[in-house]
Symmetry: C2
Subunit: 372 residues, 2 copies
């Protein structure tokens, strides 16, 4: 069975394990069982017709006396590119807009308040090729580009916060960035968060295209909760962290299910991990610096988008092979409840960590090593 | 099926999944397949006779041109308490010494170079009870206690580094600590590492007994590699981090398999997660601050000790229910190989993180929150 045929971990476990063992296995792997919730019939049939997976789950929090529940719904979208990678750029972008448009419409039917798309969603993940052309032509202004305008329309039409990760061209300096644009449900651009930690491994040749972000770990206050994008250490009070990604392969997949969960646990917040799906073929062949033959694709983007809760539980993942929309209802009150219960922020030795980390990055750092 | 009957995740998957799916499921859950290695027949039969599980795995690294392999073997021991929790203290400690003694002998047959026992291994995990007596009587001097002397003998006899986590009494100040004593293979006490982040949740009433550690994140240079104990951010060049634990329950178990792996990945090093096993009954009943009835046990310590490699792969876990010795051969060269390949230490924005964390712990900290 090849890695791009295997549909999902959950499906495999559910088809083969006896009931009693299945519940133990799921408990150990995923934490507390996540409840499904009923999706509106119109959304279900639209998803079938438009050929994407649609799943809905709910994380509940306890009822408090002084605060009402703060239930909101997030939508995570994973999808294939629509046209071949050598189609005219505008056609590719328009086809993606139209695909995302029809998926967001279903998200709206499901009552989604905040939607997030995959990393550099308007384009193939061409950064493996190391070719500048035509990939840099996909870059757009975060504030005034066509894609941002398109998202602003969606935001206003559906009263939805839109997190739109694009390849950004900062027109003033003519620089490129890997940027998530955050658009308020009013349609205004609230701000942007640039990818901070750029990988340099295998075919992730992203550092050829853009540099480390300079926007820090900004938190965006929206009507539906304080959100942040990408890796964030939770110190700024984000309630939901979106992590749009584009990742493939044997190295990454076993880490996929643990990293976002670990971040949710460590930071007492919700995390949303989104990966694209499918295999993207490029006209020019490229090498991977591993002594192997040149090839035309980066590997299989394995989808599997999911949401993790501050108690370490998580929803099942979307498919490894199909487009999909994951709708998850969260009660943001769960964050403080878990924080009060586990007290990581209080019991953690952050001052000490800050001091040690500050020392460790100095040029004259001498580690404390005990020898005999 | 109750949580203390379910033997192990791996066993359940292996009994029910068809071959082709099993390999996909294991790849996604555990990363690259870990090789088993042949354990000597005398060790296998001694383990059967002494009624504990014995497993052996190997992580390989690539052959380099300038450095020879640095293969060493670590041993992780998980075990039940031997006598009832109300037996005389000295009898309880002696029974544990003798159980550990016979398990370490098998570790020696397997060529183990560094062995680590479970958290506060000489005693029941009585901290759930909030009774000071008799649990504080189990505390011993890290430098001169009976248990340290016992471990020094083992270290010399078997030419083995011993990591011995005990309840420490610092005689000078009459204070208690949760401390791992690191004993060199020469038999000398190399130093100690005190538990730094003390949980305050549910029945983990440890803060009633001892305070946050004051030993920082020390690294111990041994003949077999640089090691550290407990949570460590890897900045000091530890090659193996031991994490002796005592943990139970629905909250903790789904996190067990992800935290040590995440640390191994983030720090390019090996991590060894060790948990005790069994249910410990206490004579006096205690409450959990959750409105439920008083009870006599803390829950089931689920064992499942394992080793994770810097590439995110991991060994299967030991049993959830049986005593066990896990022997793992590591080539420490893998750490630098993965570091060179993934470059987290170089691409990570540590200076920025240090700066942000330093700001975040100040009293006058104002987070960067963008509003409309």
């Amino acid at each position: 069975m090849s890695a791009c045929e295997f549909e999902s971990l959950e499906k495999s476990l559910e088809s083969h394990l006896p009931e009693a063992e299945l519940s133990e296995v799921k408990r150990i792997l995923f934490g507390k069982d996540t409840q499904k919730f009923d999706l509106p019939a119109c959304a279900v049939s639209a998803a079938v017709e438009r050929d994407f997976e649609l799943k809905g789950y709910r994380f509940e929090a306890a009822q408090e006396q002084l605060r009402p529940p703060r239930r909101i719904r997030v939508g995570l979208i994973q999808n294939h590119i629509v046209l071949p990678t050598d189609a005219p750029i505008l056609d590719q972008v328009n086809a993606m807009h139209s695909r995302i448009g029809e998926m967001v419409e279903v998200a709206a039917m499901c009552g989604v308040n905040i939607v997030c798309f995959q990393e550099t969603w308007t384009m193939p993940f061409g950064f493996c090729t190391r070719e500048k052309e035509p990939w840099t032509e996909f870059a757009e202004s975060a504030e005034e580009g066509n894609t941002t305008r398109f998202c602003q329309e969606l935001a206003k039409k559906y009263n939805m916060v839109v997190v739109s990760p694009i390849l950004e061209r900062e027109v003033l300096h003519s620089t490129l960035w890997n940027t998530a644009v955050v658009i308020s449900n009013s349609g205004n651009v609230l701000g942007k968060s640039r990818k901070n930690h750029i990988p340099r491994i295998g075919d992730f040749n992203e550092s050829t295209y853009y540099m480390e972000g300079d926007t820090g770990h900004t938190v965006f206050q929206t009507q539906f909760g304080n959100i942040a994008v990408n890796i964030c250490y939770g110190m700024n009070g984000a309630e939901i962290i979106f992590n749009p990604s584009a990742t493939v392969g044997a190295l990454s997949e076993p880490m996929w299910s643990i990293e976002a969960r670990n971040a949710a646990i460590a930071n007492h917040c919700f995390t949303c991990a989104i990966n694209r799906v499918g295999t993207e073929h490029f006209k020019s062949e490229f090498t991977s610096g591993d002594g192997k033959k040149a090839h035309h694709d980066f590997g299989h983007f394995y989808g599997s988008s999911y949401v993790a809760a501050p108690d370490g539980s998580r929803t099942p993942g979307l498919s490894r092979t199909r487009d999909g929309l994951l709708v998850v209802e969260l009660d943001l009150n769960l964050n403080r409840q878990i924080s009060d219960k586990w007290s990581f922020k209080m019991t953690g030795r952050y001052s000490e960590y800050a001091e040690e980390l500050t020392k460790a990055v100095r040029h004259d750092f001498k580690p404390n090593i005990v020898k005999e």
